[in-house]
């Protein structure tokens, strides 16, 4: 006997979610509104129904989200009947803990790390489940499924615990917490194929639509009040979709006519740009992701 690859990936993710439930006192599921965290919610339903989730969902809201994401989030929470905790980046700004970036490329993406760490501290979460995948980026290729963070939220690549067989060591000291990545072994294509198989609804911005955009650093950015624009920026109407759902100021669109999930799967199977290539914040330097992870980013 053998399991189909999607069944095997699903079974592994469910196993990891149940390990979190069994090993931690106060876990949380980090929900961004993106397809990876939406997939995690589906997997949590498979792991714990007909019972309740043994954790709340936590959304770190930059205040610069796509409106479609927020609508989707609220509708989904109503459907699944689970608890949602929102951490606002605006609160961190008001409290003077972070300072809004200036200039053309200003984004709140980097600021959300502080809000996340504050939210973890406030609710004393000992495990945070996230939708990161090892295929996204070189630094992530080496991250563990149970990734221990110190009290400053830092990841130390040289002090990672060995992970053998299917045994996950979740023992931590007070103040530390663990980031858990149940879909570590999935690729972008796996996630899309799973969404299709499970008929999971997604925020509409994942599908092709007409939108006002400007071209910046060779990438299409949604025109919005959150984006610092000047007279050099030309607003055009283009047919686009988004491959990731993040902050409006740092998530680039791609030109697309993929209106249905089948079109998207066909489009990315023959894709010219890997997924994180559409996130401007990784372009700053080759080691950008590694540096941000060390500082406590998702």
């Amino acid at each position: 006997m053998k399991l189909d690859y999607l069944d095997e990936l699903e079974a592994e993710a469910i196993y990891i979610l149940r390990e979190v439930a069994g090993q931690f006192e106060k876990p949380a599921l980090l929900f961004s509104g993106g397809k990876d965290s939406i997939t995690l919610v589906r997997l949590a339903e498979k792991a714990f129904r007909p019972g309740k989730f043994p954790f709340p969902l936590v959304h770190i809201d930059t205040g610069h989200n796509f409106i479609e994401t927020i609508e989707y989030r609220d509708k989904m929470i109503e459907r699944i009947g689970e608890k949602l905790i929102i951490g606002h980046v605006q609160d961190s700004i008001n409290e003077g803990k972070v300072v809004e970036q200036k200039g053309k490329n200003a984004s709140r993406n980097a600021l959300q790390t502080v809000t996340l760490l504050d939210t973890i501290a406030k609710y004393q979460f000992d495990a945070c489940i996230g939708g990161a995948r090892r295929d996204e980026e070189k630094a992530r290729a080496k991250e563990r499924i149970f990734s221990v963070r110190d009290e400053f939220g830092q990841w130390d690549p040289k002090r990672q615990r060995p992970e053998l067989w299917n045994i996950f060591n979740g023992k931590i000291h007070k103040g530390e917490n663990v980031r858990v990545f149940p879909i570590s072994n999935w690729t972008e294509l796996d996630v899309w194929n799973y969404i299709r198989r499970e008929k999971i609804e997604l925020p509409s911005i994942y599908f092709a639509h007409e939108r006002e955009v400007i071209t910046r650093n060779g990438q299409l950015m949604a025109a919005s009040p959150f984006l610092n624009m000047d007279e050099e920026d030309i607003i055009e109407n283009r047919n686009v979709r988004f491959r990731t759902v993040g902050d409006m100021t740092c998530t680039a669109a791609v030109e697309s006519y993929a209106y249905h999930i089948d079109d998207i799967i066909e489009e990315i199977s023959a894709s010219k740009i890997s997924e994180r290539g559409a996130r401007m914040d990784d372009k700053v330097s080759e080691a950008a992701m590694e540096d941000r992870k060390k500082g406590g980013y998702f």
Partner: protein, 416 residues
């Protein structure tokens, strides 16, 4: 389509990263932006071609030192299979990384430099692959371009390796002469070695049999979580959530709960809205039982006709993974599937010099040491011998002061 997880054992000098890079490159698993980064890089081979090893480089420190210091996972797929590569470093100081990578792999690729043949590190890597019980091994004799694609050189290395394979107890060994640098026999058959008629590496990886063991004899279900909604309409609902670690369970199977020893029958297997009649190795399910028994996380359900060992005193192979040496006077935690209890390493029987395979008898047990010990646990464990059932025969040791994983155990004999 299924998933094959494989480990690559070898050092930078053997062209391991180049081999993985070549698999990704020639199987067209690289996306265009990665390809552009490759072409932009200053690192080139002597003949000016792209250095494919860049594809597997990970962390900044590693890029600076030019070595792989941790397990890096790489993903690619062909029309036949999905592949997960655990790329582990080959030097002796990273033995623990290789043990980690091997623990989850179905197959190991052992690289041999055709100019050097079977050397100390080949012995070490082969010993570790045998210790971790990998069912399949592919020996890639690399850099054939440097020995004029000589069949004689290849045959001599195969002959030498067979002696080693017998000594460490490796079965199912397959041999392929390759040049990762030039691409011979990696994805495409070599035009330079017409004397080799068998599969290229990729074709072998695509077709090798990796079916899971779904026998009743190995039916093991560690309970992770008890689902009890306790709502009005589901007042009596009680399901045991977990993942079948090995073997197969069917509805109406008689099962025993260990370590308590209670017997009962499976009444229902659930996967959300689905109710499969059978759950086999790898499946995450929720199981319902006929009788109300006290079962909690850490217990294991087994087929009543085929029970595992239950003991508190076990002889096991140990690989030590921490910079602080093993302390036989200390109490550690032991984690075996979902069960955690306290333990002590009661006796060190011997260590193995993994370069020469000779037994050593001294009392210290340091980072990367491997040997045979006796472990005593605070509560009984329901386990199988690792050589019979990997999924229920391995455990980790956790330092109760630092909470770090410090050792890997492979159970070999129940002492009691």
């Amino acid at each position: 389509m299924d998933i094959l997880k494989f480990l690559t054992a070898g050092s930078v000098d053997d062209g391991k990263s180049t081999l993985i890079g070549r698999l990704l490159y020639d199987s067209e698993s690289i996306l265009v932006d990665q390809l552009e980064a490759l072409h932009r890089s200053n690192r080139k081979n002597d003949d000016g071609s792209i250095d494919l090893a860049i594809l597997t480089d990970g962390l900044k420190a590693e890029r600076e030192q030019g070595i792989t210091i941790d397990v890096a996972y790489k993903y690619f797929q062909t029309e036949k299979r999905k592949f997960i590569i655990a790329d582990t470093p080959g030097h002796i100081q990273y033995t623990r990384n290789m043990v980690t990578g091997a623990s989850n792999a179905n197959l190991a690729i052992i690289l041999i430099d055709a100019r050097k043949g079977v050397i100390e590190q080949t012995i070490r890597h082969s010993f570790l692959v045998a210790l971790l019980g990998l069912p399949q091994v592919v020996v890639c004799i690399n850099k054939m371009d440097m020995v004029d694609y000589s069949e004689d050189v290849y045959l001599q290395i195969v002959k030498n390796y067979k002696i080693l394979a017998d000594k460490v107890g490796l079965k199912n060994v397959h041999y392929i002469p390759v040049s990762a640098l030039k691409g011979d026999n990696i994805v495409y058959p070599s035009i330079n070695m017409n004397w080799y008629k068998e599969d290229s590496l990729l074709h072998f990886l695509e077709t090798v049999n990796i079916d899971v063991d779904d026998s009743k004899a190995h039916a093991r279900f560690p309970v992770q979580w008890v689902v009890r909604p306790q709502t009005d309409e589901l007042h009596d609902y009680r399901g045991y959530a977990g993942r079948v670690s090995s073997g197969s369970f069917k509805v109406n199977d008689k099962v025993t709960v260990l370590p308590s020893g209670f017997n009962t029958t499976i009444t229902k297997i659930e996967q959300l809205e689905k109710q499969p009649a059978e759950a086999f190795a790898g499946m995450s399910v929720t199981i319902h039982l006929k009788d109300e028994i006290d079962i909690s996380r850490g217990d294991v359900l087994v087929n009543s006709s085929y029970k595992p060992e239950v003991s508190q005193l076990i002889e096991a192979d140990l690989c030590w993974m921490d910079t602080r040496p093993l302390d036989t006077s200390l109490t550690y935690f032991i984690q075996h599937n979902s069960k955690v209890t306290r333990c002590r390493i009661q006796e060190i029987l011997y260590k193995v010099n993994i370069n020469t395979l000779e037994k050593e008898y001294n009392e210290d047990f340091k980072l990367n040491d491997i040997g045979r010990i006796v472990v005593k646990t605070a509560e009984p464990l329901a386990f199988d011998l690792y050589q019979n059932n990997k999924a229920n025969g391995g455990a980790i040791i956790i330092d109760s002061r630092t909470n770090v994983t410090v050792g890997a155990l492979m159970f070999r004999t129940a002492v009691e």
